[in-house]
């Protein structure tokens, strides 16, 4: 009787589906997907285009609040009607937006300041990106400073829970839908001027 019981147990173990090969199949598929996967994140300079205006005029901007940057077909820069180099642009932008009404030629407040970039039809695209990048970097540096100190350049406190080593670090803590307090406190207005329509 005991011998019979042992025989039956032996039978049942033999009837199991062998799963040893399953791992091999799974590994094969895994290696295929590992090789074909590219986890690349799209990076770039984000902008928001102005909505198409039907009839109404665009809202007027006072001349002192506007920093005009013109880029010609040779890639030369004209900042507020004066020639400038791209390397100087970052400082010019920072001076303009952190003026807080001190200099009567520069912006009244950061929220009113507008950086206007206008290009020629033959402007090389990489020069345009370089200029745009410099303008954004000027804002980034100000945001970095806010993230580090928790204060705007004027000294107003920004309600951050802690200080961060950079704006990027603060930005990474934001969940989708959260308010970006640094950008709320110190917004960036960059306008891409409409091309002349005389062509």
């Amino acid at each position: 009787m005991a011998g019979l019981l042992e025989d039956r147990r032996q039978d049942r173990e033999d009837a199991e589906v062998p799963t040893a090969g399953l791992a091999d199949i799974a590994f094969l598929l895994l290696i295929f997907f590992l090789v074909t996967t590219t986890i690349n994140v799209d990076t770039g300079i984000g902008m928001t285009l102005p909505p198409m205006l039907e009839d109404q005029e665009p809202p007027p901007v006072k001349d002192r609040n506007l920093l005009k940057v013109l880029v010609n077909s040779q890639g030369n820069l004209l900042v507020e009607e004066e020639e400038a180099r791209i390397g100087q642009l970052r400082e010019r932008v920072k001076r303009h937006v952190t003026n807080y009404g001190d200099n009567p030629d520069l912006a009244v407040s950061p929220s009113k300041a507008v950086i206007s970039i206008k290009t020629d039809a033959k402007t090389p695209y990489d020069t345009y990106i370089e200029v745009l990048d410099e303008v954004w970097m000027a804002y980034r540096e100000i945001w970095d400073q806010i993230a580090r100190t928790g204060q705007t350049p004027q000294g107003d406190a920004v309600d951050l829970d802690q200080t961060y080593s950079s704006y990027q670090e603060y930005y990474n803590t934001l969940e989708p839908g959260d308010d970006n307090k640094i950008r709320d406190a110190f917004g960036a207005q960059i306008s891409i001027a409409e091309p002349d329509s005389d062509e």
Partner: protein, 150 residues
């Protein structure tokens, strides 16, 4: 006690591999989900510019790519062309309809402009005007990270 010791010495040495397929399947499913098998067949050359002030677009489903650059024609470069998804755009005024349809499906769409560094601004401006007409206002000038000076 003696019986317990004897039984434990009887057990088969070696670890069980029964849960190995589970682990591998878990990894497999992760890579299957994150894989993009077929990149678009890009007919224009787009060598992206380099920039510092970059933002990442994490939500891939929001992105609609617009390629602008010279046509790939073997060794020599062709004229500047615009490609949206698989199709080259013949009539530039058609962009507004294409993008309008896309924005109806995905109102938070981001138009990722992949523009070749050798392009000129007139074609970029033209595309931007079309995007404004379509109401696709969120754009992104796709660029690569600038290498820090060595």
């Amino acid at each position: 006690m003696a019986r317990f010791e004897r039984r434990s010495s009887d057990t088969d040495p070696g670890f069980t591999t029964a849960s190995l397929p589970d682990i591998v399947f878990m990894l497999l499913i992760f890579f299957m989900v994150s894989t993009v098998l077929r990149e678009q067949d890009i007919k224009v050359r787009t060598e992206l510019p380099q920039a510092e002030a970059l933002t990442k677009i994490d939500q891939k489903r929001l992105i609609s790519k617009i390629h602008i650059g010279p046509l790939k024609k073997g060794e020599n470069e062709g004229e500047t062309a615009i490609q949206i998804e698989d199709a080259l755009i013949e009539n530039r005024k058609a962009i507004r309809n294409i993008m309008y349809n896309k924005i109806q499906e995905q109102p938070k769409l981001i138009a990722s402009l992949k523009v070749d560094v050798g392009s000129e601004m007139d074609v970029v401006n033209e595309v931007q005007q079309e995007l404004r007409q379509a109401g696709a206002l969120r754009i992104n000038y796709s660029s690569n990270r600038e290498n820090p000076p060595q």
